[in-house]
């Protein structure tokens, strides 16, 4: 019986092909919009998370200044190398601390020049900052202590200086930074565009090298702190803040004259923001699913009216109320589920195409696809019930007399 009714519904869908197509269009658009929105939203979230991970996970950046984005911070004192040592020694849950000095400089090599950021730090920076070597090596501890003339290039700098020259990767070449020359000992694996501009546009030298030969000052611009695996950033940030206040001789009422920037927290904030946005977009798209459901109800009501005589005949030859109800309900569900299936197909193509156009990673999410399918079928039941009940409750005598 159920199978026969199902076949009946399919036949009725096929018989009014154009009408059926127009009817399910609302559901198709609704389902594909929901899936596309959610898939793209999830892709964008993942892209952002990946960028932040490339900055370095579980990383705190301590910078001078009163508020985030304060940069050098005018009259605010900068840090010294001893601050980094104090943090490493006194605060639990810290894996490594790298003091980082920075200077803008024009670097010259291979007859070309390029304005870039020169960073001076300890060898820990490579671990903390998630830097990997494409070739060569990082500087050794004794080179770091003695301030040796060695440097490691970011991909952008390498490309600008050596990219056009066949036969050299830049490794082993001499690079001039301001008044001194250094030997290129390593090339970094590119990270790509991050949340903080082009991270690959950098030259990294030992901190002492930078201090002695470029800035001429023993100050450092940032302290880059990596947390131990599984450490909670909140208490760590609090004790780090307390330590820095002491070291910078701030009294009780003074505001902090430094900032602690937490990449983990940033990642969480951004992910949750993206999550909210994704749900919002999904919800807006879900409204179109509802509109599609109303379209189905409309057509089912028309269909029931049109087929009044058929319903009367079915009732007369002995169809039970429930059987007529089931027939029209299944018809509605077949329509809406068909819309759901077409919607899933379109959504898969659309979100794949849009994801590649927007350079966002694409992944097929079975949960949202299944959910949309079930939801569209549920819409068929919801909006098909009223017309189906109207059909089932008809008086066979009246229905047979209907013109």
């Amino acid at each position: 019986m159920l199978f026969s009714v199902f076949m009946l519904a399919l036949r009725s869908v096929r018989r009014n092909l154009l009408r059926s197509f127009l009817t399910i269009l609302g559901i198709v658009i609704g389902v594909s919009a929901v899936i596309t929105m959610v898939t793209l939203g999830n892709g964008a979230t993942r892209a952002i998370e990946e960028k932040i991970t490339s900055l370095g996970i579980n990383m705190l950046i301590v910078s001078p200044g009163q508020r985030i984005g304060g940069g050098g911070g005018g009259g605010v004192p900068q840090f010294i190398e001893a601050d980094a040592e104090a943090i490493a020694a006194q605060i639990g849950g810290v894996a490594a601390v790298a003091p980082q000095g920075q200077a803008r400089a024009t670097v010259v090599a291979n007859g070309r020049n390029w304005a870039t950021t020169v960073s001076g730090s300890t060898v820990d920076l490579f671990d903390i900052g998630n830097w990997e070597l494409a070739s060569g090596r990082v500087f050794a501890p004794d080179e770091q202590l003695s301030g040796a003339a060695v440097c490691v290039l970011g991909e952008t700098v390498r490309r600008e200086l050596f990219g056009g020259t066949p036969g050299t990767t830049g490794l082993g070449e001499q690079l001039r930074i301001k008044q001194f020359s250094c030997n290129v000992i390593g090339i970094l694996v590119p990270k790509g565009q991050g949340g903080m501009g082009d991270q690959d546009d950098t030259v990294i030298v030992p901190l002492h090298t930078l201090q002695r030969r470029v800035t001429g000052s023993h100050r450092v611009s940032f302290l880059v702190v990596s947390m131990a695996e599984g450490a909670d950033s909140r208490p760590l940030k609090a004790s780090l803040g307390q330590l820095m206040r002491e070291r910078r001789h701030l009294s009780e009422g003074d505001d902090d004259n430094f900032n602690i920037f937490d990449t983990q927290q940033l990642a969480e904030t951004l992910s949750s923001t993206m999550g909210v946005l994704t749900s919002l977009l999904g919800a807006v798209a879900a409204v179109s699913l509802l509109v599609g459901g109303i379209g189905i109800m409309n057509i089912m009501l028309v269909s029931v009216t049109e087929r009044t005589r058929e319903i009367g005949l079915r009732l007369a030859v002995g169809a039970l109320e429930g059987e007529v109800l089931l027939q029209f309900l299944i018809e509605a569900v077949v329509l809406s589920a068909l819309g759901g299936v077409v919607g899933v197909v379109i959504a898969t193509v659309a979100s794949w195409a849009l994801a590649s156009a927007m350079a966002v990673p694409y992944s097929f999410d079975p949960a949202i696809n299944l959910l949309s399918l079930l939801f569209s079928a549920a819409i068929g039941v919801m909006f098909g019930y009223f017309p189906a009940r109207r059909a089932a409750r008809m008086d066979p005598i009246e229905a047979l007399r209907h013109e």
Binding site: M1, S4, L8, R15, R309, E310, G312, L313, R314, L315, A316, V317, G318, A319, L320, E321, G322, E323, P396, I397, L400
Partner: protein, 223 residues
């Protein structure tokens, strides 16, 4: 009040013509006899069951088991083959597809439409359409066939053919036939004629000399 105090007994195997002007209550009587409607007062016993006390679904079960309907306007499903039209009542008995096909083919053969199974109503003449409708009525092997002006939309020759078919059902299969008609020619086939007037039975008489063969002019099948 369409009917005013009716006392009517119909025995199994009868061929009854119900006649009367419009508004005489014969349609209401047919609806009650066909278990489509229930009397507001009084009783209707069908095979010993009090139909007036049954629910909608119970009456539907009664109809699908014992009753077949033939309508003036045929009421075939458009764009649906004769075969599928005939199979329709079997759907609600839960017959398998193979059983339905076999029963429908046999019913179509019984009404002289073997070979017309794939044709849709639009491809059939009025007489053929009514034959399909009769096949649909008898495919469930009912005890009673109720025909509401079965020849009302047909010309005389087709009408006589349909009457011949109903007569054969009654004679050869023992099916009780109740038929509403305006035409005395058609009523003449019945063994009993009940005349309705103003909601009452005006006359209930045995037809001593029923027509048993169609007039010679329409004997030959020409459709």
């Amino acid at each position: 009040m369409a009917l005013k105090g009716i006392d009517l007994d119909i025995a199994a195997g009868e061929f009854v013509a119900i006649m009367g002007p419009s508004g005489s209550g014969k349609s209401t009587a047919m609806n009650i006899l066909g278990c489509l409607d229930t009397p507001t007062a009084g009783q209707y016993l069908f095979k010993g069951a009090h139909v007036e006390a049954l629910s909608r679904d119970q009456r539907a079960r009664l109809r699908r088991r014992f009753l077949g309907f033939v309508f003036q306007g045929f009421n075939l499903l458009a764009r649906t083959s004769a075969q599928e039209n005939v199979e329709l009542p079997l759907l609600y008995r839960g017959d398998s597809a193979a059983d339905r096909r076999a029963s429908a083919a046999k019913a179509l053969q019984d009404v002289g439409l073997a070979g017309w199974e794939r044709h849709t109503p639009a491809e059939l003449s009025g007489g053929q359409q009514q034959r399909v409708a009769i096949a649909r009525a008898i495919v469930t092997e009912p005890a009673v066939v109720l025909a509401d002006e079965p020849t009302g939309n047909l010309d005389t020759q087709r009408s006589h053919e349909i009457m011949g078919l109903l007569l054969a059902l009654n004679r050869d299969h023992g099916i009780t036939v109740l038929m509403v008609t305006h035409e005395p020619d058609m009523a003449a086939y019945a063994h009993r004629m009940v005349h309705f007037l103003d909601g009452r039975i005006a006359q209930d008489a045995v037809n001593a000399n029923p027509t048993t063969v169609a007039p010679a002019s329409s004997a030959a099948e020409t459709t």
